[in-house]
Symmetry: C2
Subunit: 324 residues, 2 copies
């Protein structure tokens, strides 16, 4: 477990990042990703392509970030793939929070860049504070999906591209990265959105964690980090234990599963059918179709489709198409 | 999922509590357990034995609680088993917090009472707020064990007695119980320790949850309750998947398990060997003995014993006895 008292001279770990294959490294221009790029270059990694998405959320500051990252890549003699996304417009169109829209835009860009670079390995600079904060955020925001944190290695399919996502610094605290950046005299950009209290994630960092630390008389980031770690491993095991591909689910097979696996199977099934906003309540409502003699046989799904039980199977009935 | 807007006239659930067998009902005198006893009696449950432990923490208020519960049992014509434990002394002797000492004393009393009454089924009044608060408490306090919440039915072995513990009100919010008590005009005692900010649990209730609700702009007890529910089911499934009884563990079998099961197996193994204070760090240190070619072969355990790897097995070497 990472300790909160960093050893200022310990090298930051790059375990698991392949030296022999090309890698994509996402660089925002902030201290975390600039330090990661620096550590990789200093560590002798050569086959690096830098990725940068301009989120266009902060006007000239955003284009300043983009220019900064381009110069940084050029200085290291590294190829760069850069793009611009109007995140605010995406958020409006899809009725998403800015944070969610930014994440969607970022991952779509990563997938497109991976295709362009003919490279499927992406390295991200997420660190231990990100892990603890994301875990608390997901926990308190609720939602039907799992509570696991990020994993050092994840395979994720985005827009038809299968990406291997590596996060070698999940066990490194922000303070250690900042100490490294100071030591190496790295120039980086300030991420203005990091200090805006409008972002829930920033409120967690700047207000919620200090409050909890005060009430509990200790820094609780360690506890959160550990919980994220334990639950991420449980979540991975759940996913391995339930492999679903069929369009229908057999009610008797579902019934035979323990509760935890039933929930995971139903979640995965809905997700595979592109149902959005899968809440815990929705999962429990569908689970109520499973017991022998269950009365309901139909559950409304977000977006107008239905889940139905018939002849011992669950299947999804698409929303009726609008009349022409 | 229980909603925060109780229907004031809905009857409180007693599902899963057996009508045909004798049950033990723990009654502190507070509104939760007094309401539970009332609901059971009104619901026609007849074979009830009331249990009350005087924690002796609040002088005459504590003996007042005991006298109140005795009168309540007598009024309903129910047998009662009552005892007194000097929790403060237990806490001092065993170097425990008052809360932990109280819990240990309570469960020892339950086991002794179960033996005396020749009854193995105990009903407790834990409710949805308890579930949410306990989950947050365990999460932020840390510790190596699982993060699951309480289950509506648990089998627990205490002092050689196998107890079936039922909690029919885990899905009922405190406000619903209080509304029920008002409606039924139930007299009950105030639990003075409920309002003391010295207890971490009370600080969670009175300060931490309101602060989090304010920062997140919503009541986050629902999210915590749901997480406790999901993780309790996962924890139960983990426990079913790893059944350990052997004194030694085979290193190759451990190696073949996914990370989540390795952690659970190591935890269970240490627990079976009566190792106390099983931290996450300890579990991870022992897991470091597992990979092929692992260098360390010995790990210090709390209390002076050691875990050792030899000939493909892990075993525990007891602490040397003090020289005579």
């Amino acid at each position: 477990m990472p300790k909160k008292s960093p050893n200022p001279d310990a090298p930051l770990p790059l375990a698991g990042v392949p030296r022999d294959r090309r890698i994509l490294v996402a660089v925002s221009g902030g201290v975390d990703s600039v330090s990661l790029l620096h550590a990789l270059v200093s560590g002798g990694f050569k086959k690096i392509t830098v990725l940068h998405l301009n989120h266009a959320l902060r006007g000239s500051a955003s284009s300043g970030d983009a220019a900064f990252v381009k110069r940084l890549a050029a200085r290291h003699g590294l190829p760069i793939i850069a793009a611009r996304a109007d995140v605010a417009a995406i958020a409006r169109e899809r009725a998403l929070s800015i944070e969610t829209a930014a994440r969607q835009a970022r991952y779509s860009f990563f997938a497109a860049a991976a295709r362009q670079a003919r490279c499927r390995t992406l390295v991200l600079a997420h660190h231990a504070d990100d892990q603890a904060e994301t875990f608390l955020f997901n926990l308190l925001r609720g939602g039907g999906s799992g509570l696991g944190g990020m994993r050092p290695r994840t395979i994720r399919r985005i827009d038809g591209v299968q990406l291997e996502i590596l996060r070698p610094w999940l066990g490194v605290w922000r303070a250690e990265i900042e100490a490294y950046a100071d030591r190496e005299k790295l120039r980086h950009r300030e991420d203005a959105s990091n200090s805006s209290p409008l972002h829930t994630r920033n409120r967690i960092r700047s207000r919620v964690l200090p409050l909890l630390a005060k009430e509990f008389g200790r820094d609780i980031r360690q506890s959160l980090w550990r919980a994220a770690e334990i639950l991420a491993a449980q979540q991975e095991w759940l996913a391995q234990s339930v492999q679903l591909s069929a369009a229908e689910m057999s009610v008797p097979s579902l019934r035979a599963l323990p509760e935890a696996l039933q929930r995971h199977a139903v979640h995965q099934w809905l997700h595979n059918h592109r149902i959005r906003q899968i809440s815990f309540t929705l999962i429990e409502t569908i689970r109520a179709l499973i017991p022998p003699g269950a009365k309901p046989a139909k559950v409304n799904l977000p977006g107008g489709s239905h889940a139905r039980r018939r002849s011992g199977k669950l299947f999804i009935q698409p929303a009726p198409s609008p009349k022409s």
